[in-house]
Amino acid sequence: MSTSLDEEDTRALAGREVALIDILDRLLQGGVVLAGDLVLSIADVDLVRIDLRAVIAPVDAEHPAPPLL
């Protein structure tokens, strides 16, 4: 596996000046969704109003995680 990104890309990727809202777009709407041992149900997270209500439910046999990846 070779890297095709140069150093500038690397710095940009690691940049701390990235806007929080752009990170949250990706971390709350993107990313692989897995059934962790805690499942975040963040469908109703409304970033528009910074109304960050997240519902976390434990995974168990009676309430299996929704079909994820």
Binding site: L13, A14, D22, D37, L40
Partner: protein, 275 residues
Amino acid sequence: MTDIAQHMVYAYAVLRPTPEAARAVAALRGVADEQVGLVETGDLAAAVGPVPAREFGEAALKARLEELPRLETLARGHHGVVAALAPLGAVLPLRLATVYRDEDRVRQMLQERRDEFLPLLERLTGHVEWGVKVYTDAGGETAAAAPEDDAGDSGLSPGRAYLAARRRRRRGAEDAWQAAVRTAARIADEAGEIAVERVAHRPQRGELAKAGGAEAGENIANDAYLVPADRAEDFRARVLAATEGQEGVRVEVTGPWAPYSFALPPAPVAHRESA
């Protein structure tokens, strides 16, 4: 087991277990300032870190996600790890706050999902994500028009001058909106020439959106594009060129990102379309 576990395992990304990956994680600290490491099983690995159970248990995590400053710390910590691993060439970022009881559970997850992770890694290898946001540029419009307005309205009474200025502003806003829509469409066309996939995120609104830039107009498009890494700069240049000479429009290109927006199965979750 009589004692309660002191730590849980926070998972950041799925990747291939290469020596480069092992070296990369060795230099990383995660969301709890913990040493990040790899959990490996066969041809897959997860970048994970042990985090205090009292901070990452159900209730604590829920509370943390509801407080913006603490959410920010968590999100930036997660992003920092993913961003540092992205240059390895293939990384599947996990969604925020994916937490396991222990490393065995992570291994189990990797094994269970192997048949889905491998093709996804294959598809994303050598690609980066770019964000393209199109805004109406109402602020710039008003500011630019102001001196001219004063000159043009000098013969009018204050009341008429006010009304004339207001009409112009409203017309300006409509024009800006139309221009932004046209620009967004042109950008999507241009971007599609290079990108292999596109995901439309919700337009950004509210306080957090304003924090990004004081002059922000209304965000009318918030798209992510999956672009071959060797055409990354080409992509950015092309998108920016497509916006040149457009009045009343501001375009922001962010990235390159790890392919967060494309680390999903072709499923109903996001609005996916072929670029």
